[in-house]
């Protein structure tokens, strides 16, 4: 029970709870010919970056997905890889929302159907959610928006013919 708020709780503790904190301690260069860190020429190199091959000291060595990486490669991974992605915009769901929700107020589809097709065209090339790479929502949204646009073309075509 918590002594402060008197709430019952269960604690599942792991060795990291009591382990001393790990701190990187770089070694100074001992001989003039010794390999030095790419970023700190006073520090002795201890490993090689698995991304770019630069020599790294203990300060610059980042354990990233089980591999040693330098800060520059970690920053590059944030843009391209999946390990460090912090958020994603779900264009497939936006497109599907634009194609389906306005059906409740169908005149809106005159505007939202082209918008949905635009989102499908733009979002198709954008990175998807890291959990699912399926493009099914894009396809459904594209088909629905095309049908809606076809309906509007038919409607205005009929008006034009009968004027």
């Amino acid at each position: 029970m918590c002594r402060s708020c008197q709430t019952d709780f269960s604690l599942i503790a792991f060795p990291a709870l009591t382990a001393p904190s790990r701190s990187a301690k770089p070694k100074a260069v001992e001989v003039e010919e010794g390999a030095t860190c790419f970023f700190h020429d006073q520090n002795s190199a201890e490993t090689v970056c698995s991304g770019c091959g630069r020599y790294l000291c203990a300060v610059c060595n980042i354990d990233f997905g089980g591999e040693p990486k330098c800060p520059a490669c970690v920053a590059a991974d944030r843009r391209g890889g999946s390990e460090a992605i912090l958020h994603r915009i779900l264009y497939d769901r936006i497109a599907l929302g634009l194609a389906v929700l306005p059906l409740l107020l169908w005149p809106l589809t005159l505007v939202t159907a082209p918008a949905a097709l635009g989102v499908v065209a733009y979002g198709w090339r954008q990175p998807a959610s890291i959990l699912s790479k399926s493009r099914a929502r894009f396809v459904i949204a594209g088909v629905l928006a095309s049908v809606q646009l076809g309906g509007w073309v038919f409607f205005f075509g009929t008006l034009w013919v009968n004027r």
Binding site: T7, D8, F9, S10, L11, I12, A13, F14, P15, A16, L17, T18, A19, S21, G65, G66, S82, I85, L86, H87, R88, I89, L90, R93, I94, G97, S129, I130, L131
Partner: protein
Amino acid sequence: MAKAPRPYQRLTRSQLGLATYSSLWLAKDHLLLVESSGFHESYHRFYLRDIKAFVVSDSDRFLYSNIIVGLLVVIAGVPVVMRIVEEESPLVPLFFLVPSLIVLIANLILGRSCRVDIVTALQTRRLKPLSRRRRTRKVLDRLEPLVRAAQASLAPSPATAPPKPATEAPPPTLQTG
């Protein structure tokens, strides 16, 4: 061509929050907490080697939701009974009674609620997808050996562990239930 294995395995289904929903996924070396608004996803990673503890505490949500939905069932049930007594068709009031009854039964089946916090060196974060005791126990039973394996190098061996002083109080009992 063989399909590449999925990097993430689902641990929980999406838990609905206020205009957001969240779910928990397991990767090779980390837990992934996904919070989504429907059109945008945010990812929070907890590496297995960094997890210090899970703190599981009781929540009153199960009780209060049962009271609220139970009241709805009573309110929707009275007109049904009255209609039956008056020998009229109870179809219209049943339209309101059945959904609330389904919600009540679903809530009872899902079981008691709880709160789970994950503790790492730098943060303590609520795991919203783990809001039911039964689901939490299943997920933690699966995670515990993985976290211990990831932290095997941190566990002190009996030979190197310092001797405990005689006056030291016994450590608190760890509960997993």
